[in-house]
């Protein structure tokens, strides 16, 4: 992919999550779709305000967990009944109560790994570059105490002058243009 050039979007900075959520809700209502919120901690209402949609991480986690469970339980069954059948205190070879704990551990392990790697695979991390880091106020504030709304240039409604005026109505601390 050739390097993109030009404007990535307009970044508005807010002091409080309430202001951000209000702006994001209004923008969504006014038809904006290519936009994103950036906050120092998870703000669920902001995600809802920009039309949060479901992702597949829970499904990946469930499948990973079930696979781990099935794999370990089958492994134990195979070892105990076919590969190395041992008489342990006269118990049946297929002694399922003893298989539960490793199977459970593998369920947790695989569910956890699937959640972590599934999340990374689905959200495109690790990203080596993101244009928003070109904005100095974003670098300083996004991980501490500022709340950002970015209207992206890919949105068909986007026009540099109009979008800037549009964001100004929410009385943000600043609106800056971010280059790719």
């Amino acid at each position: 992919m050739p390097a993109r050039e030009g404007t990535y979007g307009l970044l508005a900075e807010f002091d409080t999550p309430s202001d951000l959520v209000r702006a994001a809700q209004q923008a969504r209502q006014d038809g904006w779709r290519r936009m994103d919120c950036y906050t120092p901690y998870p703000v669920e209402e902001a995600a809802e305000a920009i039309g949060f949609h479901r992702n597949k991480v829970p499904l990946v986690t469930l499948i990973g967990g079930l696979m781990g469970c099935a794999a370990m339980f089958s492994l134990e069954t195979w070892i105990s009944t076919l590969a190395y059948p041992l008489n342990i205190a006269g118990r049946p070879l297929y002694s399922w109560p003893a298989f539960i704990i490793p199977a459970y551990e593998w369920t947790i392990l695989w569910a956890g790994l699937s959640a972590a790697f599934g999340m990374l695979a689905l959200n495109g991390l690790p990203a080596l570059y993101h244009p928003l880091f070109n904005a100095p106020n974003f670098r300083d504030g996004a991980t501490t105490d500022k709340f950002f709304l970015c209207l992206e240039a890919l949105d068909p409604k986007f026009d540099l002058v109009e979008a800037k005026a549009y964001l100004q109505q929410f009385k943000p601390n600043s609106v800056v243009e971010v280059e790719y």
């Binding site: 002091d15 409080t16 309430s18 202001d19 209000r22 703000v43 209402e45 109560p97 003893a98």
Partner: protein, 436 residues
Amino acid sequence: MAHGSQPASHSKALPADLGAPAFVNAWKSRALIVGGISMCIAILLIFLANAQDHLGFDHFYRAWALGTMVTWGLCIGGLALLMVQYCSGGKWGLLLRRPLEAMSRTLPLIIIYFLGLATGMKRLYLWAKYTSDSDTTAALSQHLISEIQKHCLDFKRPMLNPAAFLSVSFLCFAIWGFYAWRLNALGLKRDSQGRETTPFWIKKLENISGPGIVVYALTMTAAAIYWVMSMDPTWYSSVYGLLFLVGQGYATLAFSIIVAVSLSKAEPFKTLLRQTEQHDLGKLTFAFVMLNIYLAFGQFLIIWSGNLPDEINWYLDRIRGGWGVIITLDFIFHWLIPFTMLLSRDLKRNKKRIVRVCQWMIFARAFDMFWLIEPNFKDAARNLHFSWGILEYIAVPVALFSFWLAYFCTQLKTRPLVQTNDPHLEEILEPEHVHA
């Protein structure tokens, strides 16, 4: 967190009337009707069962024990959760404080239930029926008890005898009564004072509750051992008290969620119950669902692995002769269904559905208790069979639970539903996105 440029945000105001809504009275009268009808059915069943197998009163008292254990779990489980939230803090604690206080104030009714249990002592506990070495020798010669039962009864007599049973039980009631009275009295006193006293109260209630949780764990273990475990004098398990403790947390959280969500149909809970706290409570309940199966399965696995004759019989009594169906259903009811349901984030945030799951969990707790209690007795061990007496396990617990619920509603109405002298109150009135 302060609101910046636009102070007219969507923060809410505390409603003027903080009392329990009027429909709590309707719950109360409904509970009384259900309780009365169930008790009539239970008494009718005694005679039906007596005509069938002469075990009518036995089953009545066994079912009474079940009902007592479930309501006792909600009463002192409420007391324990009240102490936990004073130590842990959190907005869910503020939300539940008054319902939990009301649960802890139902202790007098539990004492009455316990007195009922004590009158049926001879039918429930072998050690109450055979109180001396000569009694057990005579019973053994008539094949009323087995040799191992005689041995255990004689050996454990210093602990398992009616006098010790009653004194330990009343000591426990006195201790729980003290904590319930102290925390309830201080809760009101705190409200009568100003905001500046908050640090004092936080410290004070923490200092009572912290040791209180330890005392609760010890006393409820003693009670669980005397009241339920000793129905089989031959068996013991060191995790028994903890299993009951977790079971109480399981049922108490489920009941608290039902109460909080049902109250949210009207003020003040309509304003106070936010999705965030409902979700938090759902997650906490989920943790108890996990811990419960973890301990129950751990106990089973250890005894199954050991396969020793003095331990394994307890499980064989509860697996063989048809009981395998009950233990399988118990696993499904008690763990599989709540676990798979509560995994869902959407369900935990949906008022209607989470209440359904919580109601189911309280039923599952009673079902588990049926599996714990009924196979202790000779006529039922390794022999699950239908009799009219089995139906007592539905009628009596429903009656006892309904009467308890009515008493809980009475207690709930005696106080405002919100503690106002608490810094969490302002936060709970703010919109959900303000706090991380």
